[in-house]
Point group: C2
Chain length 121, copies 2
DNA sequence: TCAAGTATGCACCTTTTGGTAAGTACTCGT
DNA sequence: ACGAGTACTTACCAAAAGGTGCATACTTGA
């Protein structure tokens, strides 16, 4: 009937859209490290402690297909590849900063709440 | 041995901590609607279209145990309860706004990327 | 008395997500 | 020739997340 919303109805709000891009166990961490500059695959793997090859590759692929990161293959003889943020990705990282700040400020409350949940489960 | 980080090592960065609180299929949407004011359970369920009772209750409980939302039971005869943001929760919603904005600005790119992934899968 | 509405709880099942471990194709140093 | 390092790929499995539907205890209106 009458339109209630002139935007496309795919997402409830912008946040909803954003979360489609950054959800994934390792994505925020990957973004966090890539924000420091282009990083080789192996380097990234060592930074994001605990991630498996499968997961790292998979999340990088998704981030790439979302236009957040770039993969650069130097076509060199002993295989050499690195990953970096696109300008689009960099803008996302900027938008994530307040969440970063909020998390830092309330780190203890969050950790306490997590413990509470684990204990009383 | 030598400390590399004086913060507690539970989270890699603030963002990582924050994501523990807002991850969950329906949480951002719930927060989005609660930001408009205290909302009764049934009302919320009708707002967050598609959510099941189980999920709505579950996510509300988690948000409550994280101190993000408050549950008010009016103790009235025909059962009456509502949910609202705590000040802590309100501060989280404020920190989420840039992500909201980013998502709004790039909604089309995000949707396009999602389609691309679905199609080429 | 019966259906409907309130706010939940619970059992069961499927889907999604993530982890483990192996294999590939290449090159380099010994 | 062998082991190690590069950047992945694949198959198999376990755990977590989420969905469906029924049950509860209460009340109000027909």
């Amino acid at each position: 009937m009458a339109k209630e919303n002139s935007e496309n109805p795919r997402f409830i709000c912008g946040l909803h859209a954003t979360l489609h891009v950054i959800s994934g166990k390792w994505k925020p961490l990957i973004l966090f490290f890539l924000d420091k500059g282009p990083t080789r695959y192996g380097e990234l793997k060592r930074s994001v402690r605990g991630v498996s090859d499968k997961m790292l590759i998979q999340q990088l692929k998704e981030l790439k297909s979302d236009g957040i990161v770039q993969r650069t293959d130097y076509g060199e003889i002993p295989l050499r590849v690195d990953y970096s943020l696109t300008p689009f990705g960099a803008s996302l990282v900027r938008a994530m900063e307040p969440l970063c700040g909020w998390g830092e400020e309330h780190e203890e409350d969050i950790a306490a709440a997590m413990d509470r949940r684990k204990t009383s489960r």
